[in-house]
Amino acid sequence: MGRVAKIARRTFLIGSAAIAGGVAFGVYAVKKDPDNPLSADLSDGSATFNPWVLVDSEKMTLITPHGDKGQGVMSSQAALIAEELDIEFGQFETSFGKPSPAYWNRAFAEEGVPFMATDHGFTAETMRSIMGGVVKLLGVQGTGGSTSMADSFDKLRTAGATARETLKLAASQKSGVPVGQLKTANGAVQLPDGTELKYTELASLAATIEPVKDVKLRDESQWRLIGKSMERLDIIDKSTGTLPYGIDISVEGMLHATVCVNPKKGGSLNGFDASEAKQMRGVKDVIEITDGVAVVADNTWRAFNAMRTISFDWGNATIPPEQEEHWATLSDSFKEELLDSTWRDDGDAEEAFKEGASFSAEYRSPYVAHAPLEPLNAIVLVTDDQVEVWTGHQLQRQLQVLVAAITGHEQDQVILHNQFMGGSFGHRLEFEHVKQAAEIANKMRGTPIKMTYSREEDFAHDFPRHISMGRGQGMVKDGKVTAIDLSLAAPSVMASQGGRANLPFPGPDSQLAAGAWNNPYNIDTYRMTAYRAPELAPTSSWRAVGAPAAGFFFDSLLDELIHEAGADPMEERIRLMGHDVSRKVLETAAELSNWGSDLGPNRGRGVAFVESFGVPVAEVVEVTNTDSGIKIDKVWCVCDVGTIVDPINFENLVQGGVVFGLGHAINSEITYSDGKADQSNYHMHEAMRMYQCPDIIVKGLENGTKIRGIGEPPVPPAAPALANAIFAATGTRLREMPFNKFIDFV
C-alpha cells in the first residue's frame, strides 16, 4: 500500500475530518489570525501589539498562555518575548491571560500526524501543515505533549519583535529621529544622543499606530537570554511559600466543598444518608451531584469530616470489576478485528519469521496514577450573567465549553482565572473536578464555591495511565539483531480522554504505539502493530502518554535480543541506529558513562533509548545488587531538543523526568477490585523518595533541527534502562512494572 493511502486509512486526531471528509475550511480562514483578546478590554493609553504584549504608562505585561504546572514555562515564554523586546527580568509582570483562540497551539499538530519525527519528507511536512490549520481553526489552546517551547519559540520571539518595532515607530514619531537610527535596550528606545524613551512613556502613542507585522528575528549569536541559565520568575515566591496555587486562592464570601463520587468506576449513586453530616458544625448543605455527593461547609476540614459520616448506596461499576479481567481483556485483544494500526513495517516480517522466532516474550505496563501533590480543586462562582472559575488547567477553552454546558451560559461568559499548578503530569487535562465545582456553584448561585478533593478522592478518580500488554519476537544472526516484531494491546487513552473533553478522536491512536514504532533504528525487519483493546478503566495522558509503556516494551525486547545475539547493548544500539542526531545521543551517553569499563562484582549497567515527542533520549543506569535489594547508583541522561532555552531549568526537568520514570517503574500501580482503585494515598503508590534517588547526570545536545520540549521525553527510557541494568547485575529479566513485585529494592 502506498504511503498516502496508508495515511488516509489511518486518519488521525481531528485532522481525520479534514482528510476523510474534504478540507472543510478555506485558505483564508486559516491565514486569518484570530482577534487579539487583549484589545477587548484595553484601557485608554494602553497599547497591545499582539496577544502577548501589553504596555501602559505604568507597566509592561507579558501574556504567557501556556499553563505552568512546574515545568517553568511561564518564565520561558516571558524570556522568549523579552529576548526580542529588549526588556529584562524584573521590568515586567506576567499573566496567564484569558482563554482565546489567538493562543492556538501550533505544535499540537506534530504529534497528531502519523509520521516519525525524523521524517521531514514532503508528505510528512504537508500533513503537519494541514493539521496545523485544523488546530488553528478550532482555536485549540492547550499545554501538553511537551509542546510549549516548540509552539512558542518563533511565535513569542516574533511577538516581542513586532512590539519592539512598533514602539520604535512611536519613538520616531515623538522624537523626529528616523527609525533606522533608533536602538532598544532595557525596556526603552534609545535615541542617537543617548536620550531614553521608556516603553511605558511611549504606550499611549504606540496605541495609535498599526502594529508592525514583518520583522526579522535575531540571529542566535545575538541572544541575550536564550541558552543562558535564568532565575525563574517564580523561584523566590516558590521558596518563600508566597506563590498562590489554585488551592490557595480565596474569594470574598466563599464556602468550602468537597465531593465523593462513586468509587466504583462509572457506577451511579442509588441513595445516601447524610442526616449526621447535616447536623455537624459548619456544614451548610449536602448536595447530590452527578454520581455522587457534595458537602458544603465553612472550611475544608469540616467538609472532609462531614463527608466521612455519610453512608452511600453505590451502583455497580461499569468497568470489569477485577484487575485480572483487565489483563485478560488485553490478552484477548491481539486479533485482526481489533487492529488499530500497523505503525511500522520495514522489511518483510512474514519472511523473516517464517521458520519461527529466535526469541519471544510478553511485557506488561500497569495503570499508574498522576497524583500531583496539589489535590485537584476549583473555585466557581455562578451568577446569572457569567461564571468565574479559579483553577489551574491545561485546556482552558475546553474548560469554558464544559462549564457553560452545566450552567447554561455561553462559552465566552465563562471567565477562567488560570492559576499556577502544583503539578499535573496530565491530571489537569481533566475536567471532572471543575464540572463538579460548577454543579455545586450552579445550585448555589451567587456564592463562590471552593471545591477541594481529599487525597483519597483524588486517587479514587485519577484517570490513570492506560494499561498495556506487549508481545514481542525477534531474530538474531551472526551476533546481530536482524528482526524485531512487537505487537501491543491497550485501550486508547486518547479516545477515553477525548470522550470526556468533547474532543472527537476518530482513527488510530498514535499514542498507543508511541515509543515503540518511531525509534529511528535501521533494523532489517522492524514491525510494530497496535491493537486497540475495548475501553476498560477510564484513562488519561500520563507524563509522556504512550511511550512509558510502549517504549518499555520495545527497548526491553531489543535488549533481550541483543543479549541473545551476544552483542554489547550499547554498541549494537549504535550500530542499528539510522539517525545521526540519535546516534550522537547514544554515543554521548556511552562516553559520559564510561560504558564498557569494569564495574566490579554485583553491579550492572543498562542502557535504553526511546524517542518521544520528537526527542531522542538515551539513559544509562548503574545498579548494585546489595543484601537488602537493588540500589540505583547513578543515571546518565542524554537528549537532544534542538535548542535549550534555559539550561538550569532543562537540567531540573530532565532529572525530574528520570526520577518520575524510575520511581513509578519500581513501585507504583493502580489496580481495581470491585471496580474501585485499591490504592488510596501515597503510602500505596509512593514512587521515588529521596533515599532511592540516584545521582543523575544530564547532558543536553543541540544537533536537532527543530526545537522540542523536555517535560516528558526523559520519562520513557528510565524504566527499560533500569530493567536492563538489573538484568546485567542479577540475570533476572523484568518484563512487568512495577518491578518491586518481582525484586527487592533498597
Binding site: S250, P375, G663, Y682, R689, M690
Partner: protein
C-alpha cells in the same frame, strides 16, 4: 483558643481536634503550608513548633503546645532564611508545591546537624515527597545551606 503563629497571637474558635494545617490555611489564611495527603505521607504540611518540624495535618490544634512557625515566618523575599537562599541559588523548585514543607524540614534538620552526610540528608528528607523529582537539587541545596550555616 489562642495560638502563636509567626510571632503573632491568634484567636480561633474551632474544634480542638481540627488539625493545625486547616486552622492555619482556612481559619488564619496562612497558605504557605500545604495540604497534600492528610496522613503524614508527603510532608507538604510541615511547620515548626518551637523550632521542631512537625506534620501539621497530624497535629490537633487542641494539643498544640508551643509557638508555630510556617514558611512565611521562616523568611521572606526581603529577609531570606539561609535555607531559602540555598533553594533559590540552586533553583530547586519545579511546581514548588512541596517546597515549603521541604524547606521547613531542612531548616529544622540543619538546626540539629549542620554538617550532614549524604545518608543523613536522605534519612531526614525521605518523608517529604516531591512528585516533580527535585531530590538531586534538594540535596545540593541542603549541602550549600549547611556550609553557609557553618561559615556564618
Amino acid at each position: 483558643m489562642k495560638l502563636t503563629v509567626n510571632g503573632n497571637t491568634e484567636e480561633v474558635n474551632v474544634e480542638p481536634d481540627m488539625p493545625l494545617l486547616w486552622v492555619l490555611r482556612d481559619e488564619l489564611g496562612i497558605t504557605g503550608v500545604k495540604y497534600g495527603c492528610g496522613i503524614a505521607q508527603c510532608g507538604a504540611c510541615t511547620v515548626h513548633v518551637d523550632g521542631v518540624a512537625v506534620r501539621s495535618c497530624q497535629m490537633r490544634v487542641g494539643d498544640l503546645d508551643g509557638e508555630v512557625t510556617t514558611i512565611e515566618g521562616l523568611g521572606s523575599a526581603e529577609k531570606l532564611h539561609i535555607v531559602q537562599e540555598a533553594w533559590i541559588e540552586h533553583q530547586v523548585a519545579q511546581c514548588g508545591y512541596c517546597q515549603s514543607g521541604q524547606i521547613m524540614q531542612a531548616a529544622s534538620f540543619l538546626e540539629f546537624n549542620d554538617d550532614p552526610t549524604d545518608e543523613e540528608i536522605d534519612t531526614a528528607m525521605s518523608a517529604n515527597l516531591c512528585r516533580c523529582g527535585t531530590y538531586p537539587r534538594i540535596r545540593t541545596a541542603i549541602k550549600t545551606a549547611a556550609k553557609n550555616i557553618r561559615e556564618a
